[in-house]
């Protein structure tokens, strides 16, 4: 009767923490959810039971939302879908309530919350005999640091700051600090240093390079985030401190000497170039270069975001989806002439589809305006199909989050910023990159060339907005089609270097302060 009101879930997929977290395997599955939170959008896949609510589920997927924020406002990509305020992103004309910025903001902080919960439960329910638990906790801390770094990069130091010590429920988190300030930067740095074993407390440490699985974070992944944090420190902290470039060099050295190498080899059965192999359905095998990836699988890891989005949205016009291992093309993302014109004719990295496409963008909503990008393909290196047999939108292509070529370019950039010139070692790295592309190095490698080369090598890999901001060219000093809602491009207010903290969170949490001029 009245006691009937005390219920526990009867759903076979649902349980309370104490009931379900009764084995090391269960902890591993909770940890895997943090990894999966970067890949899929909910617990059903491709859609259903979403992690975030109030959004289109596909839109709210981590890498899709990140791509929208990192690529669409730059010279590398344009989108004209009539999806709410999405066109504003390509126009650098967003307000504090932009739904697409909001989606990434909540997704990033959600990932932080997931990691916090894992660490909290591991601290309270974990047992001595769960020998791998410390390593799992290090991985959770890495994933939290990664999401925090993305949040810091896009929204600044004023984002809500929560850790495993924060309560769950009706609380109002405090911001890490002011928009440009050291708190979050310092926290991410200290967390990463702890899990790579560079602090006194080395009880929770990531796996060494060569010991991790594909899609699992190892020390090099953490070194990479540290190096990125240091390289961009003047943006985050508001002032330049050469010590940080030195620290960046330290960690980049660890990466370049960890045994990674660029993919340059090929087999006779290969139908794609070594560079293209990094972006194929079987790019799990490109792990000599890819340091950390977010993995997808056509059978078991499905989403309307992630690589499905990146590939399907880039197919339209006269393109044939099947050629790219897809059942459908969504006809959305293309690139601008600003990117296309950076390439030499010989450059093998210029992967465009041009038939029926015009280079000039006269209309934002016409897919045929701007070249289509065919960098990512859901095909295997030998030209076969992945698990979807080419008959669905669910792809196998993993997101190459960090790869060695990026570290090489960063090393050269650090040289230039510290010493004004590129070291012989770094120059040899650059030589490897341009050799693979089939082009040559300029006589004088300077920062401008580095920025352009980063676009050529790393376009559509979600580095561009960060790079342009670091080089001071995101809002002014360099323009591209549609910037400032102008077909030829024009300068925009410097406030756009930081994205706004979504209006909804400013309202829900009075402790937060909006970023300047929004």
């Amino acid at each position: 009767c009245v006691n009937d009101l005390d219920v526990t879930p009867i759903d076979p997929n649902l349980a309370t923490a104490d009931k379900i977290l009764d084995s090391e395997e269960a902890f591993y599955q909770v940890l895997t959810k943090i990894y999966a939170g970067f890949a899929v959008s909910g617990q059903t896949g491709p859609a259903g039971d979403p992690d975030l609510v109030g959004f289109d589920e596909g839109h709210s997927q981590y890498w899709r939302a990140y791509f929208v924020c990192q690529e669409l406002p730059t010279d590398e990509a344009v989108n004209g879908w009539n999806d709410g305020d999405l066109p504003d992103i390509s126009q650098l004309d967003w307000g504090a309530n932009n739904g697409f910025i909001r989606q990434f903001y909540y997704r990033a902080i959600y990932q932080v919350s997931l990691a916090n919960e894992f660490i909290r439960q591991a601290n309270s329910l974990g047992k001595e005999e769960y020998t791998n638990l410390p390593q799992y906790m290090a991985e959770a801390r890495f994933l939290r640091a990664l999401a925090y770094w993305h949040a810091l990069d896009l929204f600044g130091n004023g984002v809500p700051f929560v850790t495993e010590d924060s309560p769950i429920g009706s609380v109002l988190p405090l911001p890490a600090g002011e928009a440009r300030g050291p708190e979050l930067f310092n926290y991410i740095e200290s967390e990463l240093m702890a899990i790579v074993g560079d602090t006194e407390d080395d009880s929770q440490v990531l796996l060494d390079v060569g010991q991790s699985m594909g899609g699992q974070a190892n020390k090099a992944a953490a070194w990479m985030v540290l190096a990125k944090l240091y390289l961009n420190h003047s943006v985050y902290l508001g002032e330049t401190n050469s010590e940080y470039y030195t620290k960046a060099r330290t960690y980049l050295n660890k990466i370049t000497s960890a045994g990674y190498s660029l993919i340059t080899d090929s087999e006779v059965t290969d139908v794609y170039t070594p560079y293209e192999r990094l972006f194929l359905a079987d790019n799990y095998s490109a792990d000599s270069e890819i340091i950390y990836s977010i993995n997808f699988d056509g059978d078991v890891s499905r989403s309307y975001g992630g690589m499905t989005y990146v590939i399907a949205a880039s197919i339209g016009g006269e393109m044939t989806p099947n050629e790219y291992g897809m059942a459908n093309g969504w006809g959305g993302n293309r690139t601008t002439k600003a990117l296309v014109n950076k390439f030499d004719a010989a450059d093998g990295r210029a992967l465009w589809f041009t038939e029926g496409q015009q280079l000039e963008i006269d209309q934002q909503d016409q897919f045929t305006h701007g070249y289509a990008v065919v960098k990512y393909k859901n095909r295997t290196r030998s030209g076969g199909f992945g698990t979807n047999e080419g008959s669905s939108d669910w792809v196998d292509v993993n997101v190459p989050v960090f790869r060695l070529a990026d570290a090489y370019l960063m090393a050269a950039e650090v040289d230039l910023r510290l010493d004004g010139s590129v070291s012989a070692q770094s120059l040899s790295y650059l030589q490897e990159i341009v050799d693979r592309a089939g082009v040559s190095l300029p006589t004088n490698v300077d920062l401008d060339w580095i920025l352009d080369e980063r676009a050529r090598e790393l376009y559509w890999e979600c580095h561009r907005r960060t790079d342009l901001v670091r080089f001071g060219k995101f809002t002014s000093g360099y323009n591209w089609p549609l910037k400032g809602n102008s077909l030829s491009g024009k300068d925009v207010d410097a406030k756009y270097n930081l994205m706004p903290i979504p209006f909804t969170d400013i309202t829900a949490n009075p402790n937060l302060v909006q970023n300047p001029n929004y």
């Binding site: 309370t16 909770v30 975030l52 307000g95 959600y110 984002v159 989806p321 309202t507």
Partner: protein
């Protein structure tokens, strides 16, 4: 032998002569009417019977004997006031009611109703808005009583059939949760509107309560009723799209480079998917007494409704048995009701509704060259694969999909009402109920091989989807009632107290697979997705009625509800109500009034709750395992062979441990009035409903929880308005009766709070997804506005009143145009609703009309916004789309989804039903009763709205299955 009969007819209460009384010879058409002094003269034969009838008085019959003078005194018949009305846990005389309750019984139901119970009362009850979900057979409806009291939680009223509360979430495979009872078995619909009437149902009563009772056996000889009809439904109107020739012209003008995509046919796709559909309905009921004291009613019904969308249909068989024996000298009354329903639905493919609108009219339907697509035209890619973004061939959508369901449902209860032998004033009532259902696909939802409109299925030889839903809801109610009259102090009272227990349980299974075997020849199925949930409600309730001198009434009710959906601290909710009524007509200053026959004032206050929040475990932290398609994939690179290591995930879910009841406080002041012996009567109610602790899905502070939005108790809203009903008999005499009924409802909904902390800058919660783009929202819940108001850019118009493309007002005047310039603009709910009905009876003929009007409502014309711009004709040269003729008004080239232009006035008047009937009983020598009738449903709509139909649930007009116009011929026979 013939003689002349004369006499005077008077009012029995005061002896005054009554003019206008009909005096007729029974069984003939001979009669007369009394003169102003109440006298009459008439020729008649001895032994014949005279019938004296007058509106507002009871009929009197008198046999003509030897005397030629017959004086008659007529007793007033206060219409309806002795009528017994079903209320929560019991019944009440209508005259003793203190709350706002309206009953519609079988005699007053809308006629010519096809298959859905809610249609019986549409337009008949003030304050009740019933919007059918569309024209599909057996379609469900959105029912709103006095506006919605909630934002995120359910706004559906609680529906109780013969004492068994239904679970509102419906049954899979069934279009309508109300489809549990055959409309022909329904005796009454009682709508409880204000809190003093509904509060006895506590936590589920915030949106009103609808009590449905079914017909019962009568203590008489065998009676057989048959009713049947046959009907033809036709598409009432088509959406205004370009014809093939117009389309060719516009394309050649706008996109001459794409004329190569044009076909050679002239196809009206809407004609191709709609049809005239014939439906039949048969009902047979037997009632009587099996043995002494065992009345029964047994009915069977068969309904075969075909929809105007080709292939859509519903075949429904119902069986219902009511037994109501009374035992032990009437001390124990038992009421056993069992209803079984067996439905076969064919859903056809409702995607064809939208496809018929966007498909290029110049293309053929079928062609030999489309053999790969089963012979149906499809937009193809250069490699021959179907273009998944292009509009789908509507005919192929219908022909290449099989989507049928089978639903079995049983609702039964046994109610025992025992009057204590030693204390007959005390009654005990026990009610045991069960509602079980199973809804499932019938042979899989099949996408046939070759279906170009589903690229996955096309590439994998077709596909199957399956689902099964099982539900089992149990009920136990028990109450004691003590009724006592105390003549010494001119008082009556009754007191009732009880306990209720309910358990809701559901299990859902779904799966899908493709026809293409893998290399091992196996058909690989996605693993089945299984979910299961339950919740309990335990309640204690009581009611006290006190009546003094038949003039002053007090009702007090209290319910304490416990729900398993809330934590122990918030589990119990207390819902009180109090109502006072004053029968002013009984007061000396009014009792002598001849004009005023009824005047009663009712004042009520009460608190009701809402716990239908969608989640059964929202208050505690749970961990959820992911489905097999939401895993994460690791690759074991250590071995060099990159073995795939998929891993299931477990997700911690967000929760709000402080989750609790939503509370609605209702204030109601009402009047029942009647004039001229209630020849004109009605009600007037004014109400205010305030909901606080609104269950609302709001953004939680980022980082504070394990989700970004949570259903939590924050905010408040109010509904205020009035309802007025009037029923009048305009004419009544021997041959001719004319009744008129009208009701007016005014309701204004306003959100008064949405955040914990007052924040004037808080925008609100955006809602209202549309077709076109992804994730576009055009509505908002904002403080100070009606829930679901539109939220769009303010369109700028040129001097001729035409919208200028892409030009909107920079509302915040910051020089930038972006989403901060969106504005709240108009509301989707009607401000005023009118219901009108009238019936005329002339001799054996009857004629009735039922109509409704909604005023002050707006609709977002998604049909126009999605297909009314030139660029939508061709997408990157891949395929063509038809255009809405609205493009000639706007000349838009690009989509302007968020333009205020598309928020359009949608007030309307709809003539729901016109019926003409003829009673043939006379012709059959009254050996049995028979009436034949013909009616038209959805006869016409008067509106300025340019879309297909202005009546849209939720305010966004897109892809609604059009409501048909239906012509019906029916017969009712009783013997």
């Amino acid at each position: 032998q013939e003689m002349t009969v004369t006499g005077v007819v008077t009012d029995a209460s005061n002896g005054m002569p009554l003019p206008g009384v009909t005096v007729a010879i029974k069984g003939t058409t001979i009669g007369t009417i009394t003169t102003p002094d109440g006298t009459y003269t008439l020729k008649a034969n001895k032994g014949q019977i005279l019938v004296y009838s007058f509106i507002g008085y009871k009929n009197v019959e008198s046999v003509i004997g030897d005397q030629s003078q017959i004086n008659i005194a007529l007793d007033a018949d206060v219409i309806g006031m002795e009528e017994v009305v079903v209320i929560g846990y019991g019944t009440s005389k209508k005259k003793d009611l203190t709350g706002s309750i309206q009953t519609v019984s079988a005699d007053d139901f809308n006629q010519g109703v096809l298959s859905s119970p809610q249609q019986l009362i549409n337009g008949k009850v003030a304050g009740v808005q019933i919007t059918d979900g569309g024209g599909a057979p057996g379609e469900g409806a959105t029912i709103r009583i006095r506006g919605g009291s909630s934002l995120s939680a359910s706004n559906d009223p609680l529906i109780i059939i013969d004492g068994v509360p239904l679970d509102n979430s419906g049954v899979s495979g069934m279009r309508n949760p109300l489809n549990v009872v055959n409309p022909n078995d329904i005796e009454t619909f009682t709508v409880l509107k204000d809190a003093s009437a509904t509060a006895i149902y506590g936590s589920r009563a915030s949106n009103g309560v609808i009590l449905i009772t079914t017909k019962k056996g009568k203590a008489s000889g065998l009676q057989v009723d048959y009713s049947g009809n046959v009907s033809v439904a036709t598409p009432a109107s088509k959406l205004d799209m370009l014809s093939a020739d117009e389309y060719r012209e516009v394309l050649a003008d706008k996109f001459p480079g794409n004329v190569g995509l044009l076909g050679t046919a002239n196809t009206d796709w809407q004609d191709e998917v709609y049809r005239n559909a014939i439906s039949t309905d048969h009902n047979l009921a037997l009632s009587g007494m099996v043995v002494e004291n065992l009345p029964y009613r047994l009915s069977v019904g068969y309904n075969n409704t075909n929809g105007i969308l080709d292939e859509s249909s519903m075949e429904r068989t119902t069986a219902s048995l009511n037994l109501n024996p009374s035992l032990f000298d009437d001390h124990l009354r038992v009421n056993i009701a069992a209803k079984g329903m067996f439905i076969n639905n064919n859903f056809s493919n409702q995607g064809a509704v939208g496809a018929a609108i966007s498909m290029d009219p110049t293309q053929v339907i079928r062609g030999d060259e489309y053999a790969a697509y089963g012979g149906y035209f499809a937009w193809a890619r250069p490699d021959g694969s179907p273009n998944g973004n292009a509009p789908d061939n509507p005919r192929a959508l219908i022909d290449q999909r099989v989507d049928k369901s089978k639903v079995n449902r049983f609702v039964g209860n046994a109610q025992f009402d025992y009057k204590f032998h030693f204390l007959p004033d005390l009654r005990a009532n026990l009610n045991l109920g069960l509602d079980m259902s199973e809804g499932k696909d019938d042979d899989g939802i099949q996408t046939l091989p070759g279906a170009a409109w589903d690229t996955d299925a096309y590439l994998r030889g077709g596909g199957y989807n399956t689902y099964v839903q099982k539900k089992e809801n149990k009920l136990l109610d028990f109450y004691l009632q003590y009724t006592k009259a105390l003549p010494s102090i001119d008082s009556r009272f009754d007191v009732m107290g009880g306990y209720s227990w309910q358990h809701f349980w559901a299990e859902n299974t779904s799966g899908s697979w493709f026809n293409l075997p893998n290399e091992d020849g196996e058909y690989v199925r996605d693993p089945e997705n299984l979910t299961r949930n339950e919740n309990y409600l335990v309640s204690f309730f009581g009611r006290l009625n006190y009546i003094l001198s038949d003039k002053y009434y007090v009702t007090f009710t209290l319910r304490n509800d416990g729900s398993s959906r809330f934590s122990e601290e918030n589990r119990w909710g207390l819902f009180p109500s109090v109502a006072l009524a004053w029968n002013m007509k009984e007061e000396s200053f009014l009792s002598n009034s001849d004009v005023l026959s009824t005047l009663k004032m009712k004042v009520g206050y009460g608190v009701t709750g809402q716990q239908d929040i969608g989640s059964d475990y929202g208050y505690f932290g749970t961990y959820k395992s992911g489905q097999p398609t939401a895993q994460y994939m690791y690759y074991n690179s250590l071995t060099g062979s990159y073995d795939r290591i998929p891993m299931t995930t477990i997700r911690p879910n967000g929760y709000d441990e402080n989750l609790k009841w939503e509370e609605t406080t209702t204030y109601n002041v009402g009047f029942d009035y009647g004039f001229l012996n209630n020849r004109i009567s009605g009600t007037l109610d004014v109400y205010l409903r305030e909901t606080k602790d609104l269950l609302n899905q709001i953004p939680v502070p980022a980082g504070a929880n394990l989700t970004n939005e949570l259903v939590t108790n924050v905010g408040s809203l109010e509904n205020k308005g009035f309802e007025f009903t009037v029923n009048a008999t305009a004419i009544q005499n021997n041959d001719f009766t004319w009744d008129i009924g009208a009701n007016v409802t005014y309701n204004q909904n306003e959100i008064t709070k949405l955040t914990r902390v007052e924040d004037p800058n808080y925008l609100g919660v955006q809602t209202g997804g549309i077709s076109g783009g992804t994730g576009n929202l055009v509505q908002i819940h904002q403080v100070g506005q009606a829930a679901g108001s539109f939220f769009v850019y303010q369109q700028v118009y040129d001097n001729d009143g035409n919208p200028i493309e892409g030009v909107y007002i920079d509302r915040d005047e910051n020089g930038e145009f972006n989403e901060s310039d969106l504005m709240v603009y108009k509301q989707s709910a009607p401000k005023v609703m009118l219901g009108l009905n009238t019936s005329l009876t002339y001799k054996n003929w009857d004629f009735s009309l039922v109509g409704r009007a909604n005023l002050g409502q707006y609709v977002y014309n998604n049909m126009a916004s999605n297909t009314g711009w030139y660029n939508s004709m061709q997408i990157s040269g891949e395929y063509l789309n038809n255009l809405n003729r609205d493009v000639f008004n706007t000349n838009f080239n690009s989509a302007q989804y968020l333009s205020s232009y598309y928020v359009q006035k949608a007030s309307f008047f709809r003539m729901d039903n016109i019926t003409l009937g003829y009673d043939m009983s006379d012709l059959l020598n009254n050996s049995f009763k028979m009436r034949v009738y013909s009616s038209v449903n959805n006869a016409f709509v008067i509106t300025g709205y340019e879309g297909l139909d202005p009546e849209v649930s939720g305010g966004i007009d897109n892809n609604v299955y059009p409501r048909p116009r239906t012509f019906l011929l029916g017969v009712n026979v009783t013997f």
